[in-house]
């Protein structure tokens, strides 16, 4: 199970508690998290299920590269951080 941690800034709008979810890549893990918390999905992903322009995700300290498909691999004990990108100002 990967551990998923969301930025505290999003909590004001929608509850995104820390979660444990299975998956081989970022897409699979997030799909599992959002299956249990569907309202949070649109705060992180856009209409095409890509990562929102001003959001970013780090897996074990490395920023993901595939923002469209979220195919970056995730290990069994990975930690995924979902938070704002500084591009948003």
């Amino acid at each position: 199970m990967a551990r998923v941690v969301f930025t505290p800034n999003v909590q004001r709008h929608v509850a995104c508690p820390e979660a444990l979810a299975p998956g081989r890549n970022v897409r699979e893990v997030l799909d599992n998290v959002f299956a249990a918390n569907p309202q949070a999905r649109s705060y992180v992903l856009d209409d095409q299920s890509g990562l929102r322009k001003h959001m970013t995700i780090f897996v074990d300290g490395r920023m993901i590269r595939d923002r469209a498909r979220l195919a970056d691999p995730v290990a069994e004990n990975s930690t995924i951080y979902v938070f704002q990108a500084l591009s948003g100002g």
Binding site: V14, Q39, S42, Y43, D46, D47, Q48, M55, Q84
Partner: protein, 366 residues
């Protein structure tokens, strides 16, 4: 006459109420958040607010008995496998709601129907008070939609929606930039209207092409729906045949450039504008903030300034930030520099409610 205003600002939604001697801020919702637009549905009293959280995207909220609840935001369909289209910079165009730029109630005979115009150009309709949304695919898939360009933003968008009070299947939408589009069958088929508008910034062969027109705001007279007024990037235009053809209104002092227009609900010849100097100098002429008003279909204009700042005013009034109440008596507008003014006599005299609001994006009578 309406005794309350909803003022959408960069930092919250302000309710401004008419008290014994003045209009005052009565409530603030979504304080700190970017509220870009609101809608008051007169059929059932529900209110809608569009928010743009930046990092977290565009959201919609609807009023409840006790406050607000988040409701679904219109969602673009998945891009077909292998399909791609590109923006002006050659980047893939993301089919995703980048802004809610228009909200309009459907007809009196279709309770719960709400229209929503967005960037990058999608038109959506809800039939259940915003609980779910369907894209109006015939317009999005129209082959000429790809000729739309950015106007008020990098991406094209639908900012004006007029539902015919005689027949709610007849709808006009205006695009910046992309002209005026009309459906007579509830959105199944669309035709481009707007002959007679002129885009002097376009190449000569495109100057009069209806799809090249940067309509800033389109409004329709409720009591005389054949009459439509346009504040265009290039000036003021008026139509007496449901936007099929337009006549340009030139030589209006101090300027014909601006974003907003309001038309009287029963008198099609009476309309209001808030002029800026010109497109490349978007400030009031001479630092004097004025409203222009015609009562004769554009033949002549009054320049209304009583109660408005007449020195070093640099207020810009966006396309949704001028409002007229249903009675056609009270006007209100808000500015980019946080000013809010109300008139109770069709613009003859204005009272400043405050000049310290966050930047104002939209004003609506509640």
């Amino acid at each position: 006459m309406s005794d309350a205003l909803l003022v959408s600002t960069r930092k919250g939604l302000f309710t401004v109420a008419r008290k014994a001697h003045a209009w005052e801020i009565a409530a603030v919702d979504f304080l700190g958040d970017n509220v870009t637009l609101s809608l008051v549905d007169r059929r059932d009293g529900r209110r809608y607010a569009a928010l743009d959280h930046g990092h977290f995207g565009v959201k919609l909220h609807r009023s409840t008995a006790n406050g607000w609840e988040e409701i679904p935001t219109p969602v673009y369909p998945p891009k077909p496998e292998g399909y791609e289209e590109y923006d002006l910079w050659g980047r893939p165009l993301n089919w995703s709601t980048a802004r809610i730029w228009a909200l309009a109630a459907g007809g009196a005979d279709e309770p719960g129907t709400i229209w929503c115009g967005t960037l990058p150009g999608g038109l959506f309709r809800s039939r259940d008070h915003g609980q779910s949304w369907d894209m109006v695919s015939a317009l999005w898939e129209h082959p000429r939609r790809k000729e739309w360009m950015g106007g008020g933003a990098d991406l094209p968008g639908i900012h004006s929606i007029c539902v015919d009070p005689r027949d709610a299947r007849r709808v006009w939408v205006a695009v910046s930039t992309g002209g005026i589009w009309f459906t007579a069958d509830g959105g199944t088929t669309w035709t481009l209207r707007g002959n007679g508008m002129r885009a002097e910034y376009a190449p000569p062969e495109r100057t009069h092409d209806p799809i090249s027109q940067d309509v800033h705001c389109l409004v329709q007279c409720a009591g005389a729906p054949h009459r439509m007024w346009v504040q265009h990037h290039n000036g003021i235009f008026v139509s007496s045949d449901e936007a099929r053809t337009f006549t340009e209104i030139a030589d209006v002092e101090p300027s014909t450039f601006g974003f907003a227009v309001a038309v009287h609900p029963r008198d099609p010849d009476t309309a209001w504008f808030v002029p800026e100097i010109k497109d490349e100098k978007r400030i009031p002429d001479g630092g004097r903030l004025v409203v222009t008003r015609t009562r004769d279909g554009g033949k002549s204009f009054d320049v209304l300034r009583e109660g408005l700042p007449q020195s070093h005013a640099y207020d810009v009034v966006y396309r949704h930030a001028l409002a007229l109440d249903d009675a056609g008596e009270r006007l209100a507008f808000g500015s980019t520099t946080g000013g809010l003014w109300v008139s109770e006599d069709q613009g003859d005299r204005w009272a400043c409610v405050t000049h310290t609001l966050p930047p104002v994006y939209a004003v609506r009578f509640a």
